[in-house]
């Protein structure tokens, strides 16, 4: 019995360690609109690290992508936007640098000018490019749109 107890407590400790230690606060962090990130447990790194150091990840990834052709999604700006962009009640994406939106909101508060979006698309825009958006992602977006409509 004691052995079983030890093993189960070990498993519990392991599971707790494997779980993301910093969960998302669970509240929609943007208004207006809803994003895919709202329904996620955690970001690609712990939330407090992302808040302070997201630009370092982006800075590192941009050179890796442009020069070395590395296209992993975790620290890619395109993927950040795909997940954090809000959708209005019609399911249409609201540019992430629009007033009150995910990127803009914080950068206004901290008086930091974002230059990313003078070149990068501020919303997922893949014309003639269905292949890069998976069917699951498309489904998820339409689900979000439906949820917003129902609310």
């Amino acid at each position: 019995m004691l052995r079983l107890l030890i093993i189960s407590s070990l498993i519990f400790v392991c599971m707790a360690y494997l779980q993301p230690s910093h969960a998302h606060d669970g509240n929609p962090h943007i208004s207006p609109g809803k994003s895919k990130a709202d329904s996620q447990e955690a970001c690609v790194e712990p939330t407090d690290i992302m808040r302070k150091e997201h630009y370092l990840f982006l800075l590192h990834q941009r050179d890796e992508t442009v020069i070395n052709g590395i296209r992993t999604k975790n620290h890619s700006l395109a993927n950040c936007i795909d997940c954090h962009v809000s959708y209005d009640e019609k399911g249409k994406a609201i540019p992430i640098n629009a007033e009150g939106q995910f990127c803009q909101d914080c950068h206004v508060k901290t008086a930091t000018n974002i230059t990313c979006f003078s070149c990068h698309a501020a919303e997922p825009r893949y014309p003639n490019h269905e292949k890069t958006i998976s069917k699951d992602e498309l489904k998820e977006i339409s689900k979000i749109a439906k949820r917003i409509k129902d609310e």
């Binding site: 052995r3 079983l4 093993i7 941009r62 050179d63 442009v66 020069i67 070395n68 052709g69 590395i70 296209r71 992993t72 999604k73 395109a78 936007i81 003078s118 070149c119 990068h120 698309a121 997922p124 825009r125 893949y126 014309p127 003639n128 490019h129 890069t132």
Partner: protein, 242 residues
Amino acid sequence: MNNRRHFLVKSASALTMTFIVPSLLSSNAQAKKPLDQKVTDKKSWGMHIDVDKCADGCTACVDACNEENGLTGFGRPETDSQWIRKIKIKDKTTEKITTMPMLCQHCENPPCCDVCPTGASFKRVDGIVMVNQHTCIGCRYCMMACPFKARSFVHETLTTQNTNAPRGKGCVESCNLCVNKIDHGSDTTACEDACIKSGHNAITFGDLKDSNSKVRLAIDSNSPRRLRDDLNLKQKVFYSNI
């Protein structure tokens, strides 16, 4: 004791199923570069253009490029970006008129990279010549250095860029052989796809280092030439019947 043995055996097999088997499967199943690996010089991308097959008046490749990379003009043909354009040339002796697409020739010795003061113009290890727009200062030396007028400068503020092709005011840009598509495992470009779809089959794209690739077969069977071969730039875009 038995319980513990079962537990260990089960957890070991679970770990194997979760981590080891999928990694083996994926490495066998995919010949293309994994997304987290750097590009290597094992491939060298190039293009073959059969000028005889290129139809006068057809702009399928140009339209496809514009759509793929979100190139929307401002109705000012003098300054609007063009990564690929159709040109018409006339042989003075035979008076034969030829139309053909002109794009970045992806030189082995690119003059644009020689003159770039910031290193923004660079050649990737797989041979793609492109602009790192994060470090481009918009001086346009590269535009002057390019003998093929392959580069464009963005003069206007842009708002409708595609996610796969970031581009903005104050930077130089040019054909990058649909680098995003290639890095995601594709072996075609938008212009090649469009040319095949239009039924002309003038453009063939592929890996020059693979002796069985469609571009190598096209080059081997056509004995094409490079434009302005005298400059010794060793371009990776070849033209036949010119």
